[in-house]
């Protein structure tokens, strides 16, 4: 329970700081920290494969991409990045209502409240089952993801290609 409290606290602080930062670089660093802590949260749930993917892809690649673009973006004043007070109040009210509704649905819903997580044996056995699921039941999703990744990489290269003089 202590681990969960520390992890959830760090995730919330990192998320809030990532959004509060006026500087894109600072926000990206907070987001990277949040992603790393989320990977630790996955590891605490015995989901080591998802933790590895989260650490490598989100905390690694995504944060590096944001850092690269953040260095190219000009610094802007806080008045240009923060919404007007009326809009912030409306957004806060909307978010609060959503959070309360979601929390009440989770607490009062038909979710087992006290059952602990099921331990799934060794990591190698779990990895074997993940591989079996990926390459049998979810093969179509994996194929579509690969095609979308390839197309997006080619498209991004074409978009940011320097124009010939």
């Amino acid at each position: 329970m202590v681990t969960f409290a520390v992890v959830s606290g760090l995730i919330c602080i990192g998320s809030i700081q990532a959004l509060r930062s006026q500087d894109a670089l600072r926000g990206t660093l907070w987001l990277g920290l949040t992603f790393i802590v989320v990977a630790l949260a996955y590891a605490s749930m015995d989901a080591l494969f998802a933790a590895g993917a989260q650490g490598l892809i989100c905390a690694g690649v995504v944060s590096l991409l944001f850092l690269r673009v953040g260095t190219l973006m000009p610094r802007v004043s806080s008045s240009e990045t923060v919404a007007k007070p009326q809009r912030r109040i409306a957004a806060l009210a909307t978010t609060g209502v959503f959070c309360l509704l979601a929390a009440s649905a989770i607490v009062t819903g038909d979710i087992p409240q006290s059952e602990p997580f099921v331990h799934q044996g060794t990591y190698s056995a779990s990895l074997e089952r993940i591989g079996h699921l990926l390459f049998t039941w979810h093969m179509g999703a994996l194929d579509i993801l690969a095609i979308i990744l390839l197309v997006s990489a080619i498209g991004a290269t074409a978009i940011v290609r320097k124009r010939n003089a």
Binding site: A53, L65, G70, T81, T95, A102, V107, I130
Partner: protein, 100 residues
């Protein structure tokens, strides 16, 4: 020991923080950061539900979701770079057109 309810509540909280960022931030980079946070909250949900059921489907869905989040970041940041480059160029009839 944390139960499924704890993780779902944490996920709802992170999603709400991301939603607040999407609604209030005007910078495009911050908007993408907030969207990534919302995707991260969904992934926490998937992993928690999958692990609670005792199978690996949640992890598989999370890995596919992480791949899709990577795609959105690649496309979003490249469009941002293009917008940044277009805003720095002098405005004339030929060079202001976006070449793809």
């Amino acid at each position: 020991m944390p139960t499924l309810t704890h993780w779902l509540l944490l996920s709802a909280l992170v999603f709400s923080i991301g939603l607040y960022g999407v609604l209030t931030r005007r910078s495009n980079v911050s908007l993408l950061l907030a969207l990534e946070l919302m995707a991260c909250a969904v992934h926490i949900n998937l992993v928690a539900l999958g692990q609670h059921r005792g199978d690996e489907t949640g992890q598989v869905m999370t890995v596919i979701g992480i791949g899709l989040a990577l795609v959105s970041v690649i496309v979003g940041l490249s469009i941002l770079m293009l917008m940044q480059r277009a805003s720095l160029e002098p405005h004339d009839n030929h060079s202001s057109e976006v070449e793809v």
